[in-house]
């Protein structure tokens, strides 16, 4: 990559990283117990436990989940060559909800399925549901070659899973409230193990995407041009779709369904810098992490000591940003 290209992305990366660190520090300091001074906490066991065991992992977890969603969003927009693509396109959101619904319905049922589900936990159920839905989409579309077919299959899987989830709620209406809680999103239940897991998946998916980004660059010139350049388009597209599913499934499993981060993060990055796909994916991850961090801190502070579900905040913030973009486009008369 030319020096100028890497120079374009670097200042933004550094800025985003610093902002993330700043917001993480703020996030660690605020919560329902109020502002906790680090120095005071050193001496108080309970305060220390609150900071170390609760606030730090959930704040870093918010960053990791947001970064996973931002990365998945950038991948989705590159693979589908559509700026309106988001990571939930291939049915992962509905699949996660269905998995969680199954878990709620069978909890305490005394069935064998229930014991397995208790072992896997809600998180596992959501992850299996999300990745399972994407695999089902790939199966229905018979591969990744035709993006239109893939998109249609994703819509079908999403709708069918949604209907199945509604059926589950009909059978067990008392699980409905639990389901809503999951759907609205929260970092409240993220501990250290969840945090490490998300960071691990983030590093893996980021590395994979960076390494394969040359294919996405070729793809940005058009499908036939990419093919003519001899890049292994089909294999890489499949790998990247799976990486997208892994990243989305992991994020959704731990923090619920958070709207707009995957859609908006790449857009914001592109409006600031123009970079190649490799840098775009990494910068989108950083941006997504920052966005969810801000949403999480706001969610904890706005109605303290009660917590707003972060899904509500990201919907407001994301929707607001898209509205602003829409207006700006109309005044500029360009698209």
């Amino acid at each position: 990559m030319s020096l100028a290209a890497s120079r374009r992305g670097l200042p933004l990366a550094i800025t985003l990283f610093c902002l993330c660190v700043l917001v993480i520090l703020i996030g660690i300091s605020v919560g329902s117990s109020g502002f906790v001074n680090f120095l005071d906490a050193w001496h108080d066991d309970v305060s220390w436990q609150i900071i170390w065991d609760i606030r730090i992992p959930r704040t870093i977890g918010a960053f990791a989940a947001g970064a996973l969603l931002g990365l998945a969003g950038a991948l989705a927009q590159a693979v589908f060559r559509n700026p309106l693509a988001d990571p939930y396109l291939l049915g992962s959101a509905s699949g996660a909800a269905f998995g969680v619904g199954l878990a709620f319905v069978f909890f305490g049922g005394g069935l064998i399925a229930a014991e397995i589900l208790v072992q896997i936990g809600l998180t596992g159920a959501a992850f299996v549901g999300a990745v399972g839905a994407v695999l089902l989409t790939l199966l229905l579309a018979r591969g990744v070659q035709h993006t239109m077919r893939l998109l249609l299959a994703g819509i079908i899987v999403g709708v069918v899973m949604g209907a199945a989830t509604s059926l589950l709620m009909f059978i067990r209406p008392d699980a409905l409230q639990n389901m809503q809680g999951f759907l609205l999103g929260s970092t409240a239940f993220v501990g250290w193990s969840s945090c490490w897991l998300m960071l691990g998946v983030l590093i893996f998916c980021a590395g994979l995407s960076w390494g394969l980004s040359f294919v996405l660059d070729a793809l940005s010139l058009g499908e036939s041009t990419a093919l003519s350049l001899g890049v292994p388009l089909k294999k890489v597209r499949t790998l990247l779709v799976l990486a997208m599913a892994l990243a989305t499934g992991t994020a959704v499993a731990h923090t619920g369904l958070v709207a707009f981060i995957g859609l908006v993060a790449p857009h914001i990055v592109r409006s600031i810098v123009s970079v190649r796909q490799g840098s775009l994916v990494l910068l989108s991850a950083l941006m997504g992490g920052l966005l969810l961090l801000v949403a999480d801190v706001l969610a904890r502070v706005v109605l303290a000591p009660e917590e707003l579900p972060i899904g509500v905040l990201t919907a407001f913030l994301g929707g607001g940003y898209l509205l602003f973009l829409l207006n700006r486009n109309q005044t500029q008369e360009s698209l």
Partner: protein
């Protein structure tokens, strides 16, 4: 003369329609060949099949080797493609776009070599786009963009280049530039196959392939009278090919 590209009984149906109904072609190395014909004759489809972008029945041979057996990377090193109407991302710089043309020669994660830099610079110079190397594709006009995409195709340094409507959006001076670039390429013994709907420009090429309704009706030199008659024929004699000012040109026939 060596044969760059050979097609034997190529057939393809897209959907319910038979687009190519049995094509036989011989294209010699170091020549510039243009495929002409009315709309819907199957020109672009044929070019895509020759480039290996569409799977068809029959055989295509690239420098003697069967295209279907060729590894995509080897094929990409020997065959360069410039497509029509392909939406390119606005976020790439001119340098990045043209450097992508070096992908068939680059190793994964190895970055680019001096040879790559040289090839890119030469391609930029040839298309007079060297000054724009840091500009973003989205900031160029359609014609300027087309020249950059051509530079990308040239950067591959493949012995065979296929171009589908390469003159789109180019103004006359740059169309002339393009002609000169093609002449340069053939002088280096590279083979160029283009699909052009501008018959006048097509007449500058060495050979012409005349198509109609999925079949090749004529293949021959551009100065041959038989070729001229064939061209006039497929266009229902609405054009006439005349020798004016030392050149063959096509003029519309008005009644």
């Amino acid at each position: 003369m060596a044969t760059a590209l050979q097609a034997r009984n190529v057939r393809i149906s897209l959907g319910a329609q038979d687009v190519l109904k049995g094509i036989d072609l011989d294209i010699h190395a170091g020549r510039w060949v243009t495929i002409v014909g009315p709309n819907g004759a199957g020109k672009s489809t044929l070019l895509k099949v020759l480039a290996g972008l569409l799977k068809a029945q029959g055989e295509v041979f690239l420098f003697g080797k069967s295209l279907s057996n060729l590894h995509p990377r080897l094929r990409a090193q020997q065959l360069s493609w410039l497509g029509q109407n392909e939406i390119a991302s606005d976020d790439l710089s001119v340098w990045d776009v043209v450097m992508l043309g070096r992908l068939p020669h680059q190793n994964w994660l190895a970055g680019y070599s001096d040879a790559d830099i040289q090839a890119v610079e030469m391609a930029l110079k040839a298309t007079h786009t060297l000054n724009w190397r840091e500009k973003l594709l989205g900031h160029l006009s359609a014609g300027e963009r087309q020249r950059v995409l051509l530079a990308r195709a040239m950067a591959v340094e493949a012995p065979l280049i296929l171009m589908d409507e390469p003159l789109t959006n180019l103004d006359p001076p740059h169309q002339v530039d393009w002609l000169e670039q093609v002449r340069c390429l053939t002088a280096q013994n590279k083979t160029v196959i283009s699909v052009l709907h501008e018959v006048g420009m097509a007449l500058y090429s060495d050979d012409v392939v005349v198509m109609q309704e999925g079949l090749v009706v004529h293949q021959g030199g551009c100065s041959d009278q038989t070729s001229h008659r064939a061209i006039e024929n497929v266009f229902e004699n609405r054009i006439a090919i005349q020798y004016i000012l030392g050149r063959w040109i096509a003029v519309p026939v008005l009644h």
